[in-house]
Point group: C2
Chain length 351, copies 2
């Protein structure tokens, strides 16, 4: 019998945002790896690629030409997962097991830059500010459409995350329903707010700033940290210091601070394994259902798959799919490693 | 405005086992693929590999020798995610956000066969029956340990599922808590049973057998089907016809019928893309907490990642991680395609 040591002993941690547990196995990072290695793109990319369907002036799959855009550029996804058609539907209540309903939605692609070879960590702050303003505009425009109740802004970066084109871009899927993960989060945020009259993330952020051990970056308006309940090895979350509902509540100063922390965090990510660090990221914020949502607190999740190196990722497979998410390194250790990364991009120092 | 056509229009479906929705985009399989391709192992494997730590007689990482086993062989995982140590722990109730507790558990590896080159679809029925009896024994032995309340039997197959060794094997993670996914399932099963005095899967199976459109294989005691709410392109579930609680309730006839359906299903999987089909699979059954669990109904999940070919998988990434699972082909179409696959393994026909 020994006393519990959270840095050494296997344990479970609770995620109050979605009410789920994660299994943490601090000792397990030591096991040898004989499994699959990811391939990484190492050739330098050109500033403009004539075969890229996202580069300015080029033709897309549907035959349309991209404009010669100079900052960011938004278009409707040619292979959208949802459609805008209004569908007539009467629910068949006899179907206990076959419950389905049509979903209306719009998918858009957001090119971050005309430059084929740049990613967030390599862009200038004003270029990133411009992306943030584009997200604000899309959140407003899409959110104003009567049947759109939720706008999901996200980015898949890197081949290992299913991204088919290195040209820097993200996506927006806007739809009539609250997606499953967002609904879970909303339920948790709401029950906390109803009880405490403060947002859950406001109080969580205070607690994190007090201990400091999971903080990666802090500036005047945002904090990037490894959540206590992170499932991915280097998962992080950017939380606004003010209890903002949504991206359109940002002041000009907050736009700048958010751009800065995005650049700094992604630089640290790239520096970690000296590679263009893959991840899926996305913003969670108030739904656009026309209701007040004082419980919502703007935050952005980063879910990067890499575990040990540029080519060895964490596999969320058998036990994780059937049982629960499991991690092999503590969030505290990951935060420490990320904090130690240089603030200058490895490519610019190596020149 | 048009009437809802579940075979054509984007829609959401509800999974009553875990109370979550999935977004279905039937039209989306048509989009071109320019993203990452998986590498597949194509060389023929030897019957015995002197460098394999799972082959009979060979040495494992911890220096121990495997016995010269002739059917299946079970050993403790040398790099277990949990430990058996009893840990003294007093919950700190002040920690609203930092909720953690130690977890005790045991991980074992189950070698399915001494043959390095065989997988389930290529094994004889009596070899598979032997695996089932090994699972029964492990479920009993581990379940009898006082602090073990749940026994998760699973298999990760293929490099794309994080499996580091082609030698046919599965794993068992037994632990003191109910893992997140199992707890969700148990809650759903229990509330259904309390209301109807029948198991949810008993009634679901009846409804599925009536329409037939998602059935892949049926024998006297088991059915393999693509669940109405499947998230992976070729996800399936094997359900026992009797409302059995657990694998140790099988009659000898049921052991044989389960071995047969396992072989047939994995043959169809291999035939689909003429490849050793990767997946994570696992059994969900009654916890070993010493309580009665009339709500539990034995079933086995198969989560295979492939979508279009042996090298193109479905990426569950940005939208899926932040929003909800999304699929590009209907479960009905997938079931039809699997049903059409030959019942003889492609390797044996090509000889
Ligand atoms: O136990 P293995 O085969 O070393 O590891 C594999 O399966 C485990 C259980 O699903 C996962 O946690 C690992 O990420 C995966 O690589
Ligand atoms: O939209 P894309 O880039 O074609 O596709 C990628 O992102 C989507 C949204 O996360 C996923 O559904 C796809 O599986 C993935 O390949």
């Amino acid at each position: 019998m020994k006393n519990f040591d959270i840095n050494e002993d296997p344990h479970r941690r609770f995620n109050p945002l979605i009410n789920e547990w994660v299994l943490v196995s601090p000792h397990r990072a030591k096991r040898p790896w004989q499994g699959q290695n990811e391939t990484i793109a190492t050739e330098a990319l050109p500033k403009y690629d004539p075969t890229c369907y996202l580069c300015p002036g080029n033709v897309r799959a549907n035959g349309l030409n991209n404009p010669n855009y100079e900052s960011s550029f938004v278009f409707e996804n040619d292979f959208a997962a949802m459609k805008q058609d209004e569908i007539i539907f009467e629910e068949d209540i006899k179907h206990t097991f076959f419950k389905a309903k049509p979903e209306q939605g719009i998918s858009r692609v957001v090119c971050f830059s005309p430059r084929h070879d740049l990613t967030l960590p390599e862009m200038e702050i004003d270029g990133i500010e411009n992306i943030i303003r584009t997200w604000q505009k899309e959140y407003t425009d899409l959110g104003n459409i009567k049947y759109i109740n939720h706008v999901q802004i996200f980015e898949n970066k890197g081949g290992v995350m299913g991204c088919s084109n290195p040209h820097p871009h993200g996506q927006i899927w806007a739809q009539s329903s609250l997606p499953t993960q967002v609904e879970k989060t909303q339920n948790s945020l709401k029950s906390y707010f109803d009880k405490n009259n403060r947002t859950l993330l406001e109080d969580y952020l205070q607690a994190e700033l007090k201990t400091g051990e999971r903080i990666v970056i802090e500036n005047d308006h945002f904090v990037a940290l490894v959540p206590f309940w992170a499932i991915w090895p280097y998962e992080t979350m950017i939380i606004s210091k003010r209890a903002l509902n949504k991206i359109t509540d940002f002041t000009a100063e907050e736009v700048n601070a958010f751009a800065t922390i995005l650049k700094q965090l992604t630089i640290k990510y790239d520096n970690l394994f000296s590679t263009s660090f893959p991840y899926s990221s996305g913003i969670h914020q108030a739904p656009t259902d026309g209701l007040e949502h004082p419980e919502w607190h703007f935050h952005m999740h980063f879910y990067p798959p890499l575990l040990r190196s540029a080519t060895v990722k964490k596999f969320m497979v058998g036990y994780e799919m059937l049982g629960e998410s499991q991690r092999d390194i503590t969030p505290e250790k990951s935060a420490e490693i990320l904090r130690q990364q240089a603030d200058v991009h490895y490519k610019s120092t190596s020149k």
